[in-house]
């Protein structure tokens, strides 16, 4: 039956197309992280050093202006403005600087993110990471990191809960990440529909972005929430 052979060939070509697309997606993820790294470095080497140095000098000036109160007030106002600018850069760098994806294993990167979240928000993170979690591909590591970052940020902004739970587990070649809280909860369908309509603001890629990242790597996504009943987000991704 010649038709069956053609059909099989068609399937093989499709499979190959899918593999090529998946590999391209993974490369794209790594590339966008490298671009972020470059932008963060530029901010670090330029504005951060300049503003910090300027603030040091201004503080000296502010002290010297003690005999001239109106001028001292002006100096303080200038310092306040520069500190605000530094604060914005701090938030930007904190959100976008990639961790040592190549240097550190998955577990260490997740721990680092939990510590960072607690430091920035004062919201507790209860972390469960098995000691034998092992490592995973760069693409999976990037995806898990960015998804966790987004989930923690969402949980902090919307849940009203004093803490969140993060659980990471591995079975064979699948890594599962669960982020949950006992906060306000929401109607997942409405939120997902709204994000599809208006996109996501403020540099956050939202639940839609989490789904996109999961889809790129051929993983699964599950969201359980209801008003008043907390939220639980689970993603499973291939580690290899």
């Amino acid at each position: 039956m010649p038709g069956a052979g053609l059909l099989l060939l068609g399937v093989a070509v499709k499979r190959r197309d899918a593999d090529v697309r998946a590999a391209a997606s993974r490369r794209l993820l790594a590339t966008s992280e490298r671009e972020l790294q470059r932008i963060v470095l530029d901010m670090h080497d330029g504005p951060v050093q300049d503003i910090f140095a300027a603030l040091s000098q201004l503080q000296v000036l502010e002290r010297a202006l003690a005999p001239d109160p109106p001028s001292q007030v002006r100096a303080r106002q200038a310092m306040g403005l520069l500190e605000r600018a530094l604060g914005e850069i701090r938030n930007f760098i904190g959100a976008f600087r990639p961790p040592g994806f190549e240097r550190r294993p998955l577990g260490a990167i997740i721990e680092g993110l939990a510590v960072q979240h607690e430091t920035l928000t004062n919201q507790a993170v209860e972390l469960t990471v098995p000691a034998d979690l092992g490592d995973c591909t760069l693409a999976a590591k990037i995806a898990i990191y960015r998804i966790l970052q987004e989930a923690l940020a969402n949980g902090h902004r919307h849940s009203g809960a004093p803490g969140q739970r993060v659980m990471v587990a591995r079975r064979d070649v699948t890594i599962t990440l669960t982020v949950s809280d006992d906060g306000k909860g929401f109607d997942p369908e409405r939120v997902l529909a709204r994000e599809a309509d208006v996109g996501v603001e403020g540099g956050h890629f939202g639940l839609r972005g989490i789904q996109d990242r999961v889809a790129m790597l051929g993983g699964t996504f599950a969201l359980e929430s209801a008003p008043g009943h907390g939220t639980s987000l689970t993603v499973a991704l291939p580690a290899e």
Partner: protein, 202 residues
């Protein structure tokens, strides 16, 4: 007088910090360099109390400089000055044995305060970093961990931090962290108060 050595890649930062610190009572900048490879020699020459160290130095890795300083007989306190306050930066500074972390994305006044704190023997890290020192899942505030009770008992017996570290087979930094949390959980300000609390039936 707190004698400070500044090591930072950026000359403008050195200039600014130096001006600020020199105007501060009780603090004197004894040397400043942009060259990481120079730090060890300058420490030898000037014997500073506190080294303010940027981890992104030219020539040599800041963490290498830190490790080398740690190996000296009477190491200076080291305050890492960095623009990054993420897990990565905290981890690197802790692993290399720093006494504290100050941010270039905060007011330089914070750096000034941190210099005084590390000089006074405090560890200056965000509370969240404790999980790397104590292990995960610490108890609720007010409850001492078994380890903290051990540290408390030895402290009450008059042992210094290095002695406690040796006795329990822990690093100095780990003991400092336990002491820091012990103080905050007990609501005491110093070792004497902690020892008194211990003596008075806990």
């Amino acid at each position: 007088m707190i004698r400070v050595l500044l090591a930072d890649d950026h000359a403008i930062v050195l200039e600014g910090l130096r001006a600020l610190l020199d105007g501060e009572p009780g603090i004197r900048v004894v040397a400043a360099t942009t060259d990481g490879a120079e730090v060890a020699r300058l420490v030898e020459q000037h014997k500073p109390d506190v080294v303010v160290l940027d981890l992104e130095l030219a020539g040599i890795k800041g963490t290498q400089v830190l490790t080398a300083l740690r190996g000296r007989p009477a190491p200076p306190k080291v305050l890492v000055l960095t623009a990054y306050n993420d897990g990565e930066a905290l981890r690197s500074a802790l692993d290399a044995g720093a006494d504290g972390l100050a941010l270039k994305t905060e007011s330089p006044q914070q750096t000034l305060t941190a210099i005084r704190q590390v000089h006074a023997g405090q560890l200056v890290f965000p509370q969240a970093a404790r999980r790397w020192i104590e292990g995960r899942g610490t108890g609720a505030p007010g409850d001492l961990t078994p380890r903290e009770r051990e540290v408390w008992a030895l402290m009450a017996a008059g042992l210094t931090n290095p002695e406690i570290a040796e006795r329990l087979g822990l690093s100095d930094n780990t003991v400092k962290f336990h002491v820091q949390h012990l103080f905050s959980k007990l609501g005491v300000k110093n070792r004497t108060e902690a020892a008194l609390r211990y003596a008075h039936g806990r």
